[in-house]
Subunit: 163 residues, 2 copies
DNA sequence: GAATGTTATATAACGCGTTATATACTCGCG
DNA sequence: CGCGAGTATATAACGCGTTATATAACATTC
């Protein structure tokens, strides 16, 4: 068995480690979505949720809302356009800005997800790390170990089952 | 100002959020490395550190050690080979396995980094989040806010300056 | 009102992770 | 020995982030 250097090095590799855990978590989230029969990628949800919460947004606002750069937002919105979940039209007062809104199909997906899949995911993640506390490195170790022990797709909110 | 949906959605977007923070942290780390005049990318350090700690390792062991998949390790090691930091030769007993070791240049880089740059990075990250405690979402918010307020490159271990 | 600067989006190229698959070597067994 | 199964690495293709730069529309200034 080889030692996990990223974990061993602690603060020195915190960036790598957060990325690694984030990727793992997102892959597990994707599995939950797939098992629910939804045809959407996990990374696209924040865009749909942003529009659902705030109404039509421009590309630039979407980039800000999901915390990525503008070219990244342009690309993902392009994909959502092709998938038919959003619609885009120039802002009436400024032809440079493009207002992105949900289509009926997109709104249906959001509405369905809000009821069925988002609570499921949030509950699974809460089960994984909702009760954690203490220094961040310890929590990250607990999250990594927790995911290895029971993948996200098999988790649900901790109830009083053991009672 | 647009709301940060990833932060707002909490556990639901934890994967995206960890990735995002990890990327930001790693980019800031890169800046520290660049400012120190070193010509190496932050993401390659874990590979060098793994070999430094454990001696020559195969591609597969390196992948395990840094927590990525084998093709990712193959690629990064290919780059380190081109940069002249590592050397690769078939294992004597099994021609399938390739043992990756540090070259003199690679060892020099590691030795120098261990003295000069790694402590600097670890101290900056510790300054950012070493004293944090509590639920993970709160710590992540503190880290994001902290990075926005004072980038990693301008941080150092918190001393009793305020005394 | 034409030149110039600024802002919003798009495009290109790259970094670094992934999965899927090909290839080369080793091992075990008839 | 030779052949099929398994293992280690390499390659290809893609996801999704980045930076740098091009283009189009608006704003300003003389």
């Amino acid at each position: 068995m080889v030692e996990d250097v990223v974990r061993t090095l602690g603060f020195l590799c915190l960036g790598s480690r957060l990325r690694r855990i984030g990727e793992r978590l997102q892959a597990d989230t994707q599995q939950v979505i797939d098992e629910a029969g939804l045809s959407i990628q996990a990374g696209k949800y924040p865009f749909l949720a942003a529009i659902d919460r705030s109404g039509p947004l421009t590309i630039g606002e979407l980039a800000q809302a999901v915390g990525i750069t503008q070219p990244g937002a342009t690309r993902t919105i392009g994909q959502l356009l092709e998938l038919g979940f959003v619609d885009m039209q120039p802002a009436p007062d400024d032809q440079r800005r493009r207002l992105v809104s949900l289509t009926g199909k997109g709104q249906d997906l959001v509405d369905h997800s809000k009821m069925v899949i988002w609570p499921r995911i949030a509950a699974a993640v809460a089960d994984l790390c909702g009760d954690l506390d203490g220094p961040i490195l310890e929590q990250l170790a607990a999250i990594e170990d927790g995911l290895a022990a029971v993948p996200l797709a098999r988790r649900h909110a901790a109830k009083e089952e053991e009672a």
